[in-house]
Amino acid sequence: MADDLVTLTIDGHEVSVPKGTTLLEAAKTIGEQVPHYCYHPGLSSPAMCRLCLVEVEGAPKPMPSCVTTVMEGQVVRTMSEEAKGHREGVLEFYLLNHPLDCPICDMSGECDLQDYVHLEGRKQGRGVEPKRVFGRDDFGGDVLFYGDRCVMCTRCVRFMSEVEQDERLTVVERGNRSVIDTFFTEGLEGTNWHGNIVDICPVGALVSKDFLYKARAWDLDHTPSVCASCSQGCNVMLHTRDNLVHRVKPRENLEVNGWWMCDHGRMDYEWINDGNRLEAPLISEDGVSRRAVGWKDALGELLGRAEELEAASVRAVASARASNEDLGALAELVGALGGGETVFRSPRAQEELVLKGFPKLARRKDLAPNVKGAELLGMRRVGDDAGAGGLDSVAEHGSIVIVLGDVLADQGEDFGAGADLYVYLGTHDSPAAKHADIVLPVTSHAEQEGTFTNHEGRVQRFWPALQPPGMARPAWLILGALDAELTGEGAPETAAELFGKLSDAVPAFGGLTYPDLGTQGASAKVGAGAGS
């Protein structure tokens, strides 16, 4: 492979990169970020923003680094006075018609125009002519367009034509009147990936209606997570403030979702902010009234009641929205309590929505993040495509019934009425938990550490972004503590420790550990029916 490497000098550093690499990408390897608008690694490069100009020794004029490929022995200067001068001139053109309405622009704080002008632009503008004004336009879907802020990089047009492959946007008019527009009355309505054009817009021309004026970019904390909307497992960032998720942005992972995510997943965050949560363990002595107790009492009561039962058998209902750790701890506990069957339910969509320009990525049929994980841990899928039904044997079970994470929306109040011990672990209360002897509050995936296994068996970590409400704790911590009491082994103290144990015990996880997974996740080494 050594033949395919090209060695060149960028800003005095010698770099070796594969043949065909652009100067811009080569500069990234030494940490030099050449300013650019129209270039995006997931799109074609038209070299039309003219901002990524760099000085190449021997070339008669500055070269756009996003399309100029590396050559042996080339000497490139990205930060020389000449290169900076070219870029300063280009930036001045961009500001000729830019309204400079940063105070009311949602992009402010994460805007490439703001950053580059501060970095390399003129300190004082020289424009005297009036600026042209377009006003704002509703593009349909979740997108608003502010034409005055646009820098005409056409990333959005190229995304719709190259990646989504549903041409809804185009450039109309010429010269300084040119502007992005939709085709007549047909907007972005009905497309499934248009939220991405808001992400890739380098300025505040395309903004999200959902996020409009809600928070400033610099106020938001970013936590890496995994989208819980389907089994694709898109890598995302949860943007939070005041213990609320304000928006969800895709996180780059070329193996799973590239730079993109679908609009369904992007908008599927309000349930995380829902304030109507279970906040304390509840015990019911008579099956009618419940009282809140501390964790020690709740778990002690649970173990006490379980001990009274002779020859217990367990029926458990898990959820495909629970993490591998939660499900693994549940499986252990079911075994320790006398063994039994664990089932789970998950809604299934009619069809997959594939992103044509990046076919690895699709909104999968299984609308829960950890269906594969539950299956790998030996749980049986029941119920119909709406995620309902299939629990008759559990509802009538007489010994121990455990429910984890499933709100049992389709079940009546008499669910589990005949059980000797009915334990309900959930984020939200449910009418079907009326007969629960013990109700334990657990955290959502945004409030705990853990992993999901996506549709192809890739295990991906997520991190806690929010403070859990009240006394809610991760399910793996609760179930692990109960299991430790029953078996006499030590309770897991971290999710990493529990996953390590799980990974040793379950061949599908093939000895993976949290450090192996990193931020991008990893597929289990043992072939676990990948690519289903």
Partner: protein
């Protein structure tokens, strides 16, 4: 260590008179009665002249149609070193960005005036005002309506005829 008390020797009462000292004291009093130099200020009838650099409780400027000038850009809560400004932005019926909630906790405020300095639309100002007494503590959290109603003048650090300070 023993503590010793110094005992002053006083003149015997029958051998001294306080009349002379009393008269000289009265003379000073009468002198001040006719002296034009006044020291005592007749507050509140007479108001103190505030320093040109005085920074008091805030004022929110309003447009002619009664809307606040604030565009909810979020710079003042960001720059505020005392963290006393709470702002929730939103969209009004004309599609403009505006503050749904704008509250300043005047107890927390240290009156540094950076909110005024950072404001891109000259909306929030510190005022030439110091009489802020209230009967309850919660009245010191000024909401948007209260800030817009404040009728005292803005600080002289800001010249309305030259808003950008050029």
């Amino acid at each position: 260590m023993t503590i010793s008390v110094k005992v002053m020797k006083r003149p015997a009462p029958e051998s001294t008179s306080y009349l002379r000292a009393a008269l000289s004291g009265m003379a000073l009093t009468f002198k001040h009665m006719v002296n034009p130099t006044k020291v005592t200020q007749q507050y509140p009838e007479e108001q103190t002249e505030l320093s040109p650099r005085w920074r008091g409780t805030h004022v929110m400027e309003v447009h002619a149609d009664g809307r606040p000038k604030c565009v909810a850009c979020g710079l003042c809560p960001t720059v505020c070193p005392a963290n006393c400004i709470r702002l929730v932005g939103g969209e009004d019926d004309q599609g403009n960005r505006y503050p749904i909630v704008y509250e300043i906790d005047e107890f927390r405020c240290i009156f540094c005036g950076m909110c005024q300095e950072v404001c891109p639309v000259e909306a929030i100002h510190v005022g030439r005002h110091f009489e802020n007494a209230e009967y309850t503590r919660d009245r010191f959290v000024y909401d948007l309506d209260r800030l817009m109603e404040q009728d005292h003048p803005s600080t002289l650090l800001w010249d309305p005829s030259d808003p950008a300070g050029e």
